[in-house]
C-alpha cells in the first residue's frame, strides 16, 4: 500500500483528508480519504450530494486496490521498454503514416467512461477536429448509448431530468432492469432508507431475475426476458384507455402524440394478452398499472435491462412516454431516470465521446454545429459524418478498414460481444496502442504500443454522475515511475502531429476552462449541456470545486456555482420546437434467436466486482463474495440436467464457450441463467461471458443486446480439482479449468481437469524454488497436498482432490506467517482438531461475515436485519449486503412456514 505523500496534497486540502469521487459506478459518490494507521481509508463524503456520507463495499475497499501491484509503469513499443519521447514519436509516426496512406477513416480511438472529462475532451478534439474522422467511440456504447438515443429523440438532448433526491421524494419508484442493490448500492440505500421512513412508498421491480434489489420491492414482476417493451406499451395503453392522460401537458409540451395514441391503445389494450406475453400474473400486472395510474409522484429508473437490448431505444422511449402522457416530469419526485453504469459516461458524452456526437452536445449532422466547433477550436478540419460505433469499429478493424486503433482505459477483449472476434481483430490490426494503468489485461496483451496511464488518485479532473453532477476526482498520490495522465499523453501525440499550439495544456483545469467555454459558445439554449457559468473558472476554484449539477449558467448568491436540480420544470425541452417528441414504436421486431438452445443467458455485475476486475480483483476481501466465475440457474433446471451445485459446466453456443461453476438461484425463471461479466482471461481459463454474446445491436443506438443470449449448458467431467497458492505467479499446466485470485501476498489458482496431471514433473519444477518441502500423496491422482518453503516461510501450497479440496482460507493465510504452525496443519489447510468447516460464501465484505454465521443468527431468533447486525456485525458498515441478509431471513421464514404446513 502506498502512503499519501503530504507534499503532494493540493494546498487547500488538509493534510489528512482529500475529497474526491469514487471511480466505480455512475452514482458518483464523494469519497473522503482519512489517514488511519498508515493507510488512506476511504469513507463516504458527507458533503457530497450523491451519497451524503454513504459508501458501498467496492468504494470502501478502494485503498486495497491502489498499490503498484500489476501496474504498467513504463512505455513499451513492440515489447521493448522505451522512454516517453520514443513511445510518443512512434504513436505519432504510425498514426501519421496510416493517415497518409489510408485516410482519416483508417484510424480509430476506442475510449472509456473511466476517463476523466478532460482526458475525453482532448481525445475527442484530436480525432474530430484534427484527424478529421469521427471514429472515436467509447465503452459507454455498451451501457448508455440507448438511453442517450432515446433522450435525444424524445427530449432533444442527452439530458437526464431528475436527481437522486427525486427517488426519495417519490411515492412510487419503478426499477426497470436494474439490480440497483448490487450495481448502484448507494442509490439503492437511499431508496431503502426513504422507504423505511415512509413505508407507504411503493417500489416495483421489473426484472426476470428475483435479484437482491427485488427484496425491497412491494411488487416484483419477473417478466419473460425481452418483454419489457410489451409491458410498458401495455402501461401506455392502460393510461390511455383508463383516462389517465394529462391532456394539458401533452397539448402544451409535446408533439406527435396523436400519431401513436390509437395504435398503442389498440395493440396493447388487452391486459390479458400483455400478462401472457410477459408471463406474469394478471393480478400483479394490474396492480402495477393501477399504482402508476394512481400515483402522482412516480420515478421510473431504468438501466441495463432496458438499454442492452436490440430494441432498447424503443423501450426506453416508451418509458419516457409514460411520464410525458401522464405529465409526470420536471417536478419533485417525478420523472424518468436513466441510471448510468460508469463513473464518467455522462462526462464523456458532454464532450462528444461517442462516434455520433460532435462535442458539447452538438451534432455531427448539423452544418451549423460543425462550424461552431471548428471555429471554436480553430481546427484544420472537422468530421462530417458519424464514425463507426463500437461494434462497427471492431468489424472495420477485423476487415482491415481501420489499421490504427488507440484504446484508452478499457478492456474490449473482455467487454464487447463476440469478444473472441474482437481478440482476432486486434491480433490482425497493424497498430494497436493501449493506454492503461494495468500491465497485463486481455487487451493490453495485444498492444503494439503500451502507454502507462495514471490511475485513480494519481490524476486530476472531473466526472459527471447519473444526476448530471460534475465533481472532482483529485490527485493525492505521486505519479509512479513514468506514469502520465491521459490528457497529457494525447496532447503530446497531437503536438507531434503538428498541433502543439491547439493542445497546449499544462493542467486539467486548462482543459476544463476550454470545455466550459465551448459549452456556452453560441449556445442559444438549444443545447442541453451548458456550463457557461463556469467559464474562466480559476485554478483555485477548480481545485476547490464543489459538486454541481449542470446546466450551470451563473453563480449563486454565495459565490458558488448555481446547480440545476431538475430539468424541464417549465415544460420546455431541447428540441427545435421546445416540445418533447413522440415517435412511432413498433413491437413486432422481436430479438433474433439462432439455433436451438435450451437456456437464455442474462448477464450483469456482481456486488463486489467492477468491470474486468483489473482493480477490484486486487482486493482479497472483494473476491470472497464470489471467488470463481459462475453461472446461476434455477435449481430445478440444474437437477433436470443431472448436475450438482458447485460442479463445473460448459456454457456454450455458436460464438464461444465458457467453463464456470454452476450455482443455484431460485430467483431465476426456469430456462433463464445468469453469468457475471467480470471474469476474463487474466482471471480464468474460459469465462469471458461476452464471448458468448452475439453482436446484435439496437439499430438506432448501436448498443449490443447483452441480456438474452441463447446457450446450452453441459456438465464438464473432471477427475481432479485443486487449489494452488504461490508467492509468485506460476506458469500453469493447461487444464480444463482454472481461476485466479489475489490473496494478499499470494497468487491463488483453482484448477480442475480430466486428464492426468503430471504431478511429478510439476513438483520437480517447483521444488527448485524451495529449500523445504512437505507433501501428502496417495499414489494416484485422487489426493495430494504440498507445502514448499524457502528460508522458513511457505511459498507454495497446493491441495488436490477428486472434489474441491476443503480448507480454511483465513486460517491458512495467517498460519503460514507463523513459523510455529504444525506442518501437518499447514498441509491440511486448517487447524488441527477443528471440525471440518466447509465454509460458506462471504455475505458482508466489510466485516467478513459469511452466510453460515448469518443463518445461525437467524436460526437463533433474529428476524430483522438490525438483529443480525447486532449479532454478527454483518451489514453494519456499508450496508451493501443488507438485501442478501434480508433474503436469508425471508428464506428462513418460508422454510418455517413450509414446515408448519407439513
Amino acid at each position: 500500500m502506498r502512503s499519501i505523500p503530504v507534499q503532494d496534497l493540493s494546498a487547500s486540502v488538509a493534510a489528512s483528508r482529500v475529497q474526491t469521487t469514487c471511480p466505480y459506478c455512475g452514482v458518483g459518490c464523494g469519497v473522503t480519504l482519512t489517514r488511519q494507521r498508515e493507510q488512506d481509508i476511504p469513507v463516504g463524503d458527507k458533503a457530497h450530494p450523491a451519497n451524503v456520507g454513504r459508501m458501498c463495499v467496492k468504494g470502501s475497499a478502494l485503498h486495497e486496490t491502489i498499490g503498484l501491484q500489476g501496474r504498467l509503469l513504463h512505455p513499451e513499443v513492440d515489447g521493448k521498454e522505451t522512454d516517453w519521447n520514443g513511445a510518443l514519436n512512434k504513436v505519432a509516426q504510425r498514426l501519421q503514416e496510416t493517415l497518409e496512406k489510408h485516410g482519416p477513416e483508417s484510424v480509430a480511438f476506442y475510449v472509456s467512461g473511466q476517463l476523466l472529462t478532460e482526458d475525453y475532451y482532448v481525445a475527442n478534439k484530436l480525432m474530430k477536429g484534427y484527424i478529421g474522422s469521427a471514429n472515436i467511440d467509447t465503452n459507454s456504447r455498451l451501457c448508455m448509448s440507448t438511453a442517450v438515443a432515446a433522450h435525444k429523440r424524445v427530449f432533444g438532448a442527452d439530458a437526464v431530468p431528475a436527481s437522486y433526491e427525486d427517488l426519495e421524494l417519490a411515492d412510487l419508484v419503478l426499477l426497470y432492469g436494474s439490480n440497483l442493490a448490487w450495481t448502484h448500492p448507494v442509490v439503492y440505500q437511499r431508496i431503502a432508507a426513504a422507504k423505511a421512513a415512509r413505508p407507504e412508498m411503493k417500489i416495483v421491480v421489473v426484472d426476470p431475475r428475483r435479484t437482491s434489489t427485488a427484496e425491497l420491492a412491494d411488487l416484483h414482476l419477473p417478466i419473460k426476458p425481452g418483454t419489457d417493451i410489451q409491458l410498458v406499451d401495455g402501461l401506455l395503453a392502460y393510461l390511455i384507455n383508463e383516462g389517465y392522460e394529462d391532456r394539458d401537458f401533452i397539448d402544451s409540451h409535446t408533439e406527435g402524440y396523436d400519431n401513436i395514441r390509437n395504435d398503442i391503445s389498440i395493440r396493447s389494450g388487452d391486459i390479458n394478452t400483455i400478462a401472457d406475453s410477459c408471463d406474469i400474473r394478471l393480478k400483479d400486472l394490474k396492480q402495477f398499472y393501477q399504482w402508476f395510474a394512481g400515483t402522482e409522484k412516480v420515478v421510473s429508473v431504468f438501466s441495463q435491462g432496458i438499454n442492452q437490448s436490440s430494441r432498447g431505444v424503443d423501450q426506453a422511449s416508451l418509458i419516457l412516454y409514460s411520464h410525458l402522457i401522464s405529465g409526470r416530469i420536471g417536478q419533485a419526485g417525478s420523472g424518468p431516470f436513466s441510471i448510468t453504469g460508469q463513473p464518467n459516461a455522462m462526462g464523456g458524452r458532454e464532450v462528444g465521446g461517442l462516434a455520433n456526437q460532435l462535442a458539447a452536445h452538438m451534432n455531427i449532422e448539423s452544418g451549423e454545429h460543425r462550424d461552431i466547433v471548428q471555429t471554436f477550436w480553430g481546427s484544420p478540419t472537422i468530421c462530417e459524418t458519424p464514425g463507426a460505433k463500437a461494434i462497427d469499429m471492431f468489424r472495420k478493424i477485423a476487415d482491415g478498414t481501420i489499421k490504427f486503433v488507440w484504446i484508452m482505459a478499457t478492456n474490449p477483449v473482455v467487454s464487447l460481444p463476440e469478444s473472441d472476434q474482437i481478440k482476432l481483430a486486434l491480433e490482425k490490426c497493424p497498430t494497436v496502442v493501449v493506454s492503461d494503468c494495468m500491465a497485463d489485461t486481455d487487451t493490453v496483451r495485444l498492444a503494439n504500443i503500451k502507454l502507462p496511464a495514471a490511475g485513480w488518485g494519481e490524476k486530476d479532473g472531473t466526472v459527471t454522475n447519473s444526476e448530471r453532477c460534475i465533481s472532482r476526482q483529485r490527485k493525492f498520490l505521486d505519479l509512479p515511475a513514468e506514469v502520465k495522465p491521459d490528457w497529457w499523453i494525447i496532447s503530446e501525440v497531437a503536438a507531434r502531429l503538428g498541433f502543439a499550439s491547439d493542445f497546449n495544456y499544462n493542467k486539467a483545469a486548462d482543459i476544463f476552462r476550454e470545455h466550459a467555454r465551448l459549452s456556452g459558445y453560441k449556445n442559444k439554449g438549444d443545447r442541453g449541456f451548458n456550463i457557461a457559468g463556469m467559464i474562466g473558472i480559476s485554478d483555485h476554484d477548480y481545485d476547490n470545486l464543489d459538486p454541481v449539477q449542470w446546466p450551470v449558467l451563473s453563480r449563486n448568491e454565495n459565490g458558488g456555482f448555481q446547480s440545476t436540480k431538475r430539468l424541464f420544470v417549465d415544460g420546455k425541452f431541447y428540441t427545435t420546437t421546445g416540445k418533447a417528441k413522440f415517435h412511432t414504436v413498433t413491437l413486432d421486431r422481436s430479438p433474433r434467436r439462432q439455433g436451438n438452445f435450451l437456456f437464455t443467458l442474462n448477464t450483469g455485475r456482481i456486488r463486489d466486482q467492477w468491470h474486468t476486475m483489473t482493480r477490484t480483483g486486487l482486493s482479497r476481501r472483494l473476491q470472497k463474495h464470489y471467488s470463481e466465475p459462475f453461472v446461476e440457474m434455477n435449481p430445478e433446471d440444474r437437477r433436470l440436467l443431472g448436475i450438482e451445485a458447485g460442479e463445473l459446466v460448459s456454457v456454450s453456443n455458436h460464438q464461444s464457450h465458457c467453463v464456470v461453476r454452476v450455482q443455484d438461484d431460485d430467483g431465476l425463471r426456469k430456462g433463464d441463467v445468469f453469468m457475471p461479466i467480470h471474469w476474463n482471461d487474466s482471471f480464468a481459463s474460459a469465462a469471458r461471458t461476452d464471448s458468448l454474446v452475439a453482436a446484435i445491436c439496437d439499430p438506432v443506438s448501436g448498443q449490443p443486446a447483452f441480456k438474452q443470449t441463447p446457450v446450452d449448458i453441459k456438465p464438464v467431467q473432471v477427475r481432479w480439482q485443486a487449489i494452488l497458492l504461490s508467492s509468485i505467479r506460476l506458469p500453469l499446466p493447461s487444464n480444463d479449468y482454472w481461476a485466479y485470485r489475489v490473496l494478499g501476498d499470494w497468487h491463488m489458482y483453482i484448477m480442475a481437469g480430466n486428464a492426468k496431471l503430471n504431478i511429478s514433473q510439476m513438483k520437480k519444477q517447483w521444488r527448485k524454488q524451495c529449500d523445504q518441502w512437505a507433501e501428502v500423496d496417495a499414489g494416484d491422482q485422487a489426493m495430494m497436498r504440498l507445502v514448499g518453503s524457502r528460508q522458513g516461510r511457505p511459498i507454495l501450497w497446493m491441495a488436490l482432490h477428486e472434489e474441491m479440496p476443503q480448507w480454511n482460507e483465513d486460517w491458512l493465510l495467517e498460519a503460514m506467517k507463523n513459523p510455529e504452525t504444525s506442518m501437518r496443519a499447514l498441509l491440511l489447510g486448517m487447524p488441527l482438531g477443528a471440525r471440518l468447516d466447509k465454509g460458506s460464501a462471504q455475505i458482508c465484505t466489510c466485516n467478513q461475515v459469511d452466510e453460515d454465521s448469518i443463518t445461525k443468527a437467524i436460526s437463533e431468533g433474529c428476524q430483522t436485519v438490525e438483529c443480525v447486525g447486532k449479532q454478527t456485525r454483518a451489514g453494519t458498515t456499508c450496508g451493501s449486503c443488507i438485501p442478501e441478509i434480508r433474503k436469508l431471513i425471508t428464506r428462513a421464514d418460508s422454510r418455517e412456514e413450509e414446515e408448519v404446513l407439513c
Binding site: 501428502v776 496417495a778 494416484d780
Partner: protein
Amino acid sequence: MSSRSKPVILIVGFGMAAGRLLDEMTDLSPDVFDIVVVGEEPQAAYNRILLSPLLAGEVHADNLALHDSDWYEKHGIRVLTGDPVRDLDIDVKKATTVSGEVISWDYLVLATGSRPGKLNLPGENLKGVQALRSMNDAKQLIDSLPNVQKAVVVGGGLLGLEAACALQAHNIETTVVHNATWPMNRQLDSEAGGRLIKALEDKGVAFVADAQCERYLEGENRTVSGLALADGQEFNCQLVVEAVGVVPEMTLAKAAGIPCERAIVVDDKLRSNIDDVFAIGECCQINGELFGLVAPIYQQATVLANVLSVYAQTKSESRRQVLLADCDSYVTQALPTKLKVSGVHVFSAGQLDVSSHTDMESNNEDTSVSMAMRDDRGGYRRLWWQDNRLVGAVMFGDTEDSQCYVDMIALQKEVAPYMQLLLDPAGMEAELAEQQEASA
C-alpha cells in the same frame, strides 16, 4: 474358607508376564490362592523393557523391580528366585526345583518366557558375544564397556537398535548389521526405514543392510575381535550384541508332555489341553500367534486372572463353563511398536503392505489405499486402509496422536476421509465421537 484349604497356584517363571499376573490376581481375588512363584534369575520380576535405557545409563538398576519384597510378603506370595524348576509331574501336580525342593500345585501357570535367538555362527561362544535379554546380560555388558572401543550389534530390530544407541551413548563406535534392507523391516516400510537409517547415522550408529553374517573373529584370550560377512566385509570390534529375535522357552513343558508347537499351545482363555495347566506370555501360543511385546501379555494376564478366579469358585465343570462364558477371552490386537531411542521417534501399528509403493501406477481394482505425508525436515507418516478401514500406520519423527491410530485399527470402524486421518487423527477421532453421539 480357611487358609489350609486355599488352592495352590504355582507360577513357573518370574518375568514380566508372571509379575503382571500377580498384580491382576492380587487385585481381583486377594486371599483366594496360595501363590508360589519360581524364577531362574536371581531377582524378582523387573521391567525388562528398561534394559536398554539401563545400558545407556538413563535409568538405575534399582528402579527396574516391579515390586519390592515387602509387597510379595504382604500379599502372602512365596517367591523362589535363582532356583528354577527342573522337572514337572503333571499327573501328581508336583514340581521339583534345581535345589530339590518339591512344590505341589492345584493350578500350574507356565510363564517361562523366551531365550535370545542364536545365529549358530562360528565363534558365537567367544567372550564379548552376548545378548541383552536379562539384568545379568546388562550388568555384564556394562562391566565390559571400559574395554570396548568398537561394537557390532547383530540385528536391526527394535531391541538391536535400542542396544546400539545405548552403546553409542557410551561413545562406543557402533555398527548395526541387519539381514534386510532397512531396520525394523517388519514394522516399517522402506521410506520410514530409510529415514531411520539416516537418523541412526546422525547419532553416529552405522547401519549395514542386507548383511549375511558368516563368523566371528577371534582375538586374544578367546575374546571376539570382529565379525565377518559373507561378502568378505569385516568389522573390528571388542563387543557383539546379538539381537536376532527370541525363542519361546518350552523345555519343561515339552518334557512334561504338555502339547507344544512353536510354543506352548493354549486357548484364548490361556488353558493348555491339560487340566489346570495354563501358560502365559512369550512361552505361549494362541491361535498360532506368538508374543513378544508387553501389551498383549498384559491382556493375557487380565484374562488369566479372571479364569483362575472362576476355577477357584467352583470345581463343577459345567458351572465353570457358564462362568467362563462371561469372562473376556484374549483377542488379538494391533501391536503398536515404539522405538525407545532418545531423539528418534518411530511408531508402527497394524499391518503394513510394505510391498506397495506410492507410485502413479498402483491404480488397480484393489480396495486397499495407502497415503503418506512426508516433510523433509519433520518426518514421515503413512497409513494403510482396506475397505475404508484403517489397517496399518507408520510414523517417523512426529509420533503425536499415535494412540488414535492404535484405537482405530483396533476398532475397525469406517474411517474416511483419508486426508484428515493422516494429518489430524485426534481431530478426526473427536469428530467421529461427536457424530456417534449425535446419531445415538
